[in-house]
Symmetry: C2
């Protein structure tokens, strides 16, 4: 794909862009400020630029007269580039931001991530696989039972071993064999309990083996449908840019229907104790899952009966509720869940540091424990084929769940020599520190600010969410981009970070997060919740209200980021390490599609380390769930990781409280931890 | 227990009797004829005898005047003996039957049977067992999950290995643990798939582990409830007379409710092919089983939740219908069942001849095959506790089923050096020949005559069935005993053998089974179905009709016995053996409580071998099902036996047809096969 240089005047800043890229997006990631408050939707008309030279494409637009259009004026948000170009930024947007000493090429926006970069030594080898078999027709001289006939051919083709067959499969065996002319495909599950036949279908369906993986969050449920048959490691390696995406047919997400029963896990646990409450909560999340399944099947044009299994990763409470298991004692001291073992039939063999990722489960003789075989998805109400199996990730403790274990698996940190910090910036803010030899984790009780919770106009990273934002250091006018480039409907995690970082960079708020009242802008005003900054005025918003960020919002954000930073610090102290000794910092969470590391450092959410040490994996749980589904070796790995992870309880930790208080400042009370940020603030703020 | 000598006058025949024994029964087994046609019920008054001397006990009776009573007259059927006695038989009953040259002491009536006489080297070690565990209460320093807590204590007490847990158990874990003060009993199942936890109960319930075993016949379903916890081999060995009966709390039987859909397996298979027919048939037999379960629980005063598993043995069609599996191809050439594998999780390891009976299943590394784990009894509609498991015996082929495999196990013939013939004289008449190294079997399509089918007044061996009978050689008056000593309601298998043997011994019928019309008795007459013998007149019968045996009945009996005899002969020929080389002949079937071997030889059902070679085991299937339930080693043994048994198809065997035709005579066309019987008939008939 051709790459062009786009020059922005009058500052003569150069950016590279690929063919067809949106001009406002190029400016955003290149730190060229262009006022824009409608999210890239073409309604505010503020992002007017003049294309001086070069090949661009834009439709006529009511905000641009035909005379102006002829002179080269365009709305940046409506313009795509198709060659080298020179673009002049109008006066009202201009500012030299070089004072902020950003690196050339702009901030490091982390978006693409390929598992193959991180996880080594695994093969596409799902625990649920399909095997085509041609049987001999019965005759007078060979009238063994249908099952014995299957056994004979199966063993001749795949070797001799004890194989269990699901009782329900027997009921259809004679019809299937005869209707199919004795050519059938057998679906088998492999686990710590051996091999089990869970389905027999007519004909050869080896090329139709799909799975659906879920990240079941307290707020949001995300899902992908995967094509297990068409995948191979070779294909994935050839398409590194897409990671595993060749195998992903579709993805979608939705709010967890449990939200009506309470926003956080504690209120859900309370509700589960009411008469019938547990069943109601289970049904609610299954309803959400069934909706997503139906949507994904439609998007991928897949038949429900071709989905052989689903994989779920969720926090410990979500896991209990999904399975209809009472979570009561998760919230009562000493906080014991009913189970942390995964529903996978996997045994936790060996230590974390085992170099083997793949390989069959049964061969590991050191295994022992109580295992939970995968259950029939139908048993908990999931609408798929009769025999589809449900796998659930193991958890660590009451407050470090399967979503985190999945993230550790997905990120590959459990295989590394060097120490990695994994941060899942969701509702709870779980953090993991370790390497191939040891892992420790903590739940920071961070709160849901980055998922939109406790923020007046907060929302999850969906259509219309402001995901990127800049504030002009002189005019204080915003430049915002929304997901889907629609009119703004609210602010998601990455947008929140950008806005608060912008407010502090421009000096609109001080390091306590309070608005300075001496700044000359109408956008800062006293609203119903106190002082606030207007990100988007009502006429330009999708919700026909002013979208603002309030001091209360900022306070919530500060608490959240402080909890996460403090949690990481406590883990590091426990390990006797400092931030600088971290090889990698992996960031997972539902912020949006991007996270701007430098701006996250400005607010003190992320430590001040070289940008290249940060990796943004987006939904880390889903990434792990995908691996779990692709390769059965990860079933054991996940169980092993979950069992061997040391859980550090922060709730009664004195050092956590100290670290938390210290972090309740922007970026931090101890400014020596953020020298770069402080210097930039002094110069530019 | 004291044993007395009872002398019968005028023939001076001596019999031994135990204290309290019934006088008519003593006479019956000692070949002393006393007319009796009400079955031992005291209503016909014909069994009047005179006690000359000795201690006997009998109530006053309307049929005996007080003057006669004072003189010593009694009804034999109402009299018990309590010391040495001399009894005079009245004129009308008298006959010297010494001409029949019976051995002193009477015929060998085989009734009691103890498994310990036959099966060696096994231990009480059920596949479903209970284990009491005391858990540590959770604390801040020890807040692992409930499941991990269980795992820790379980493994500390019972060793380390992978143990699966049934998903449904997880749902009750936290409440059970806390309600029970952390003291619980775990129910585990062991199979070829390893160990699985299927229940966790509060407190110590190790002493409450029951099973119910079923013989599911086409006509009759028999069941016993067993106390697995109180049993031990020591106890059994101490009570050889009772066999395993110490562990049997209750037993019962009932007609299979499927009977309304057809009397034989073929009509059931036909019905199963109708819309909804299979489900109807499955529900019918489950209804029968549930009725028996409820009855047995009541009789034993057992709670349903304390029954950990049930074991079923049935023919191949019954097995399919029980499990809701379509039996269609059992009746269509080339007669392939869907499955013959047992539902037990057992692997068929090694050859029949393996000397190991017990031992754990998993240790056998030579095992391979498709195994069917035990299913939840609830899954097929059995009303027991949520977690109770259902085991089903493996079958051999379409027409040799799990009932026969159970019989082979129960009789121990698969362990013997010498060759045994096993005959199950039920509806199909299956026969098995072999020893520890080889086994062959055949289904004779014998018909249900011995179970009461095709016999005008035939009935199963239940209350009121004539189970023993003699016919006076001069007066042709009958002497009958019924099960329960009630008025006769019909004739069961053993009664039928006795009556037909009596008819031929007395010359009332010829060797073709046709009535001789020159005999001087009103009991032989021309009825609505041709010639017949009146066994019991209407006033003395419970059904208020004359109970007769017709030429059609006799013809059916002859076909049945001919098929069985011919089947045995073909097996022997296949093995190159003769009857005389048989070490043992084991007879199983629902005839009644007894079988009179000499009379069965008279009709040519059993070969003429020394009496001591015959063993009557009654319901052989139930015997095997009991062992299956008591000791998990038999699960593998049964699978091994079923897989290694050679099935000889008689349906298209020329030699079978020849043997069948030859056997259509009483006792047989080849009289040299029955020299003793022929001599007796010549002398006495």
């Amino acid at each position: 794909m051709p790459v062009y240089t786009i020059k922005f005047l009058p500052d003569d800043r150069a950016a590279t862009a690929s063919d067809g890229e949106n001009l406002l997006e190029i400016a955003m990631r290149s730190d060229v400020h262009i006022n824009a408050s409608c999210g890239g939707n073409g309604t505010c008309g503020k992002c007017r630029v003049k294309v001086m030279r070069g090949k661009t494409s834009a439709p006529m637009h009511p905000k641009v007269s035909s005379k102006d259009y002829d002179e080269g004026f365009r709305l940046a948000c409506m313009t795509t580039v198709h060659g080298e170009a020179v673009v002049e930024i109008p006066l009202e947007s201009q500012v030299d931001r070089s004072a902020l000493r950003r690196k050339a090429g702009g901030s490091r926006v982390l978006s693409s991530f390929s598992s193959t970069d991180f996880i080594k030594g695994w093969a596409i080898d799902p625990a649920v696989s399909k095997r085509y078999i041609e049987l001999q027709r019965p005759s007078v001289d060979d009238n063994v039972s249908d099952l014995r006939r299957l056994e004979r051919e199966f063993q001749a083709k795949y070797g001799r071993a004890d194989i269990a067959i699901d009782f329900s499969v027997l009921k259809t065996l004679n019809r299937t064999f005869r209707d199919a002319g004795w050519k059938v495909t057998v679906t088998v599950v492999e686990s710590g309990r051996g091999v089990e036949i869970i389905n027999v279908e007519p004909g050869n369906t080896e090329d139709r083996n799909y799975s659906i993986v879920f990240d079941i969050g307290t707020t949001t449920v995300c899902a992908q449908i995967l094509d297990l048959a068409s995948c191979s490691v070779v294909k994935i390696a050839e398409h590194r840019d897409n990671g595993l995406d060749l195998c992903t047919l579709a993805e979608s997400s939705d709010y967890n229907s449990q939200i009506r029963y309470g926003e956080d896990v504690i209120s859900r646990i309370m509700y589960a104790q009411k008469e019938g409450g547990l069943e109601e909560l289970q049904k609610a999340v299954i309803r959400t899952m069934n909706g997503l399944i139906s949507e994904l099947l439609g998007m991928g044009n897949i038949r429900a009966e071709d989905v052989s299994h689903i994989v779920c990763a969720g926090n410990t409470t979500m896991t209990h509720l999904l399975l209809g298991i009472c979570p009561k004692y998760i919230m009562l001291a000493p906080y014991t869940p009913v189970m942390t073992t995964g529903v996978s039939g996997a045994a936790a063999s060996g230590a974390i540091g085992s170099s083997r990722v793949c390989g069959d489960n049964s061969a590991d003789t050191s295994s022992s424990g109580i295992i939970i075989p995968p259950v029939r998805a139908k048993e908990i109400g999931v609408t798929l084929n009769e025999n589809a199996r449900l796998y659930v990730f193991p958890c660590v403790s009451s407050y470090v769940g399967g979503d985190i274990v999945a993230g550790v698996i997905g990120s590959g940190m459990f295989q590394k020599e060097n120490v990695t910090l994994y941060m899942d910036i969701g509702t709870n803010g779980e953090v993991v520190l370790g390497n191939k030899d040891w892992l420790m984790c903590a739940s920071c009780s961070a709160g849901p600010a980055f998922e939109g919770g406790g923020i007046k106009f907060g929302m999850r990273a969906g259509k219309g969410a402001i995901e990127q934002a800049r504030i002009h250091p002189v005019t204080y006018e915003p430049m915002v981009l929304t997901i889907g480039r629609t009119k703004p409907a609210g602010i998601c995690g990455s947008g929140l970070i950008d806005i608060v970082a912008g407010l502090i960079e421009t000096g609109l708020i001080d390091q306590n997060g309070k608005f300075r009242r001496d700044r000359d802008t109408e956008r800062v005003r006293h609203g119903e919740d106190g002082y606030e900054y207007v990100v988007c005025y009502a006429p330009e918003s999708r919700i026909e209200r002013d979208i603002v960020i309030t001091e209360v919002d900022i306070d919530n954000l500060v608490r959240t980021k402080a909890a996460i930073y403090a949690g990481c610090k406590v883990l590091l102290d426990n390990a006797g390490l400092s931030y600088s000794e971290l090889e990698k910092v992996i960031i997972a969470g539902g912020f949006g599609h991007y996270i701007d590391v430098e701006r996250a450092q400005v607010i003190g959410l992320l430590p001040e380390l070289p940008l290249e040490r940060f990796i943004f994996v987006g939904n880390g749980s889903l990434l792990g769930a995908r691996l779990f589904s692709f390769s059965k070796g990860f079933l054991n790995q996940a169980e092993r990781v979950a069992r061997n992870m040391t859980n550090i309880e922060l709730s009664n930790s004195k050092s956590f409280v100290d670290e938390f208080v210290a972090a309740m400042f922007l970026p931090h009370t101890d400014q020596s931890l953020f020298p770069g940020v402080m210097e930039r603030l002094r110069n530019g703020g």
